[in-house]
Subunit: 487 residues, 2 copies
């Protein structure tokens, strides 16, 4: 059985070399996780610095991985913003965890693709199981069926595609061209991914209606009802309402039950964006904040935001998965399998055909921490946020701009000497001073036209001391704007 | 600095425990990669088996990761279809590699999110750099700007959203409702993700026109021109043409230059789906197959298909990235940064806001193998496919159903005694016998109404012996249908 053609050139990194390097990577990862708190959170690089430190063309001959790892340590890592740093308080403090990282390492080695049941039975069934575990933890009824997507942006896109499918029964065949113009409603505090989904689906900006919020930055159900009634009177077609449990700006919570009543009254799809806030429903004393979300048609919860799971992992729960499947299922011959009808084919639930084995990391996380361990940790993050909120409330030169029902505090520096744009600029400068220190990282938002700062807590390594030190940094930075240190 | 509230409960797996387990995982991964060739490719499980072997509810108290790893080995791994197996020839033989796996381990530990430059400078700039490296390897002009998505399904969705943006300048504001009905064209052999993208974007099935193919299963440019002219006469709006370089059924190649001429004549967006075939452009003697693709507006190439990169990693190249950005950029206040305008913000190029650090694995792969190492390996895969094609051509009871220009061979068992559905069934049974052996894994397709089998080569561990043995298994399986073993 000899061949004239050389066919065995195509070899991978030899296994024993892989083993040695994997041990090196294991040590690097442990050292990194143990020491990340002493690195600057925000690196001191400027746009272009990293790229210009690397060769502009790929090598002709292969290079040793020892060199690659050395460039990784010397060029890549110093140019990273460290999301693992315990004082990373920007955006949502997306946090991984040791168990999640270990599972991702296994996922990378397995490299399976659960597009259909046959292509990855364990991948498919562990995803079903873990989605159901999380559903139980969240207290949602068994009618909610979950699938994992990469991000909340994708989950919400899929949910609103299902809403569109439900509202326009012939959209799959006829498209949007001849349809009665439709409207999707969300509060003015809803995440940009909702608007992006409506644009992608062809509703356009004029098909996206922002509903005003009350003093707590929560959607006004009465304003929602009026907007729908107005649109109906204009001959437009209300399609879906998106309600948020934990907005990105301030963690505001929409009154889901009241919004659900309005959605039901008009027969609209109700999508709940609980990407960040959702995990809080696992904590008994916070469960009441979610009252009514079981009336939703779809809910997104991101374990990669506040449930110790490395990015990416977003759960989309759907009470009528058959509508989601109607919107997305296309089964060409080369993807038909003998199990069609028996095993679930995850490709039927959204845009991407290929899919990583994301269920594994969530399984590791939920088993390692257990329900009680999760409750303890989420509770402690909320307590840290409450503590910071109390310090801010007690400091004359600072004010909170919204309630802090979860683990995110939104606030601003205030001064009698400054207002309007000058005060906004002062807050920006304070944030930049803190960020340039490398000791903490914050991001800003705008609430009711005013620039505010945010401290978002969620990292497993964050302690009281990190929050306290960040509060000190903020006050020090504010002295340049006329602030003083509050004891 | 004491606090009345216990805030330090929220700790992660201790670093030294993580280190020990990461070393265990490193050894497991090395053993797995070294031994996967002796595991059954397709597991002997039935739908429900894996799920029913695991507890239906999450644990109340945390469990030890030793137990979790043991369940992983005993329950999860035996229920997996092994994409790493050197005789996995189904779908596209998605292959990882040691360097890619090591990089994924680092990505998991870092857990950064490159949505904006500031949130991950190295993540953003390494993605720019590596997209440009691959562009150079592919021989595309510098005008092509690349970004990484999860899958080709997402890349093509984004590309066609840009096409829609270009065709309907007011779609971002007005949506699709009042637009002149539009059409997207692709060959009847195009991948299902193209149809899925057109449905998602609101074109509907009636907005998706399949163009017939010639004897080589390549799109007929004349048929494309007629279809466009007919639609124009009907008052419909031609929007985009999708041409494929390496179809999923048979690796057929559309005549890109001729299709590009037609697209240019009518002013249509040209998207090239080279998700599988693209990497072959790195091989000098195969470059001519890609003649004309530099005329495209967008091109998708998946390093996770045939470029040794673990799933997921799909490159979307766009010659007019400003159109893509116009379709997708939404910058809420909380995502504005001081660098806006200087550093690139990757969130502006598609649906997902969050994004894993996928560039790292492609950087490891391109550096470790180098241009020459990649060429050698791709060339050897094509040679293996040619060899199998020659064996099939020489065997009286078998026939190829299409040319095999790359690393995929499509063929079928034939018999004088059988035709039509009976012959299709015989081919299905042959495939199932091979798959049930656990020694190789194939999937099927339908070409011109006839069931065919596919052998897709791409795994770095696949050698001449694996292909030869699979050919033997096929012939043995065919003896039950009246076939004989060809020497």
């Amino acid at each position: 059985m000899t061949s004239p053609i050389s066919t065995d050139l195509g070899s991978d990194l030899p296994v024993e070399e892989f083993r040695a390097l994997a041990h090196e990577v294991a040590d690097w990862a442990a050292d990194y996780l143990g020491g990340v708190g002493s690195l600057p959170v925000l690196p001191g690089v400027r746009p272009g610095d990293v790229r210009s430190a690397l060769p502009a063309t790929p090598p002709l001959q292969g290079e040793s991985l020892t060199e690659v790892l050395s460039d990784f340590r010397d060029v890549i890592v110093p140019g990273l913003t460290h999301w693992n740093h315990p004082s990373f308080f920007g955006y949502f403090a997306m946090t991984g965890s040791g168990p999640g990282i270990l599972a991702e390492m296994l996922t990378a080695a397995l490299n399976v693709n659960a597009m259909v049941w046959r292509s990855s039975p364990s991948g498919t069934e562990l995803e079903e199981l873990i989605a159901d575990w999380l559903r139980q933890l969240l207290g949602l009824p068994p009618s909610f069926d979950g699938v994992i997507n990469d991000t909340a942006s994708s989950s919400s896109l899929h949910a609103l595609a299902a809403a569109r499918e439900e509202a326009y029964p012939n959209v799959r065949n006829e498209g949007m061209f001849q349809q009665n113009p439709g409207r999707i409603y969300a509060s003015e505090e809803a995440h940009s991914s909702i608007e992006k989904a409506t644009l992608t689906l062809g509703f356009g900006r004029s098909g996206y209606q922002r509903i005003k919020t009350d003093g707590r930055l929560s959607m006004c159900p009465a304003a929602l009802r009026s907007a729908i009634q107005e649109d109906v009177a204009l001959g437009l077609k209300p399609v879906a309402v998106v309600t948020t449990l934990g907005t990105t700006s301030t963690a505001a919570l929409d009154p889901v039950r009241e919004v659900a009543d309005v959605a039901q009254e008009f027969g609209l799809w109700l999508h709940v964006d609980a990407a960040y806030g959702g995990p809080a429903a696992i904590v008994p004393e916070l469960r009441e904040l979610f009252d009514g979300w079981e009336m939703a048609d779809s809910i997104v919860v991101n374990p990669h935001k506040w449930l110790f799971t490395p990015v990416d992992c977003s759960l989309l729960y759907c009470r009528r998965p058959e509508v989601l499947i109607r919107a997305f299922s296309i089964v060409p011959e080369y993807l038909k399998t003998p199990e069609t009808g028996a095993g679930r084919n995850l490709m039927d639930y959204g845009v991407p055909l290929g899919r990583r084995f994301r269920a594994l990391k969530l399984w590791f996380v939920l088993r390692y921490f257990g329900r009680q361990g999760i409750v303890d940790r989420l509770r402690s993050h909320v307590a840290l946020a409450q503590e910071l909120a109390a310090w801010i409330d007690a400091a004359p030169a600072w004010e909170r701009v919204a309630p802090a029902p979860l683990s995110l505090v939104a606030f601003r520096f205030v001064s009698k000497r400054l207002d309007g744009a000058a005060l906004d600029d002062a807050n920006h400068r304070i944030m930049e001073r803190v960020n340039e220190s490398g000791e903490a990282f914050l991001t800003h938002t705008v609430v009711r036209g005013r620039t505010c700062l945010r401290v978002s807590i969620g990292n497993l390594k964050t302690t009281h001391a990190h929050v306290r030190h960040t509060w000190k940094l903020l006050q020090e930075a504010a002295t340049y704007e006329g602030g003083s240190i509050h004891p």
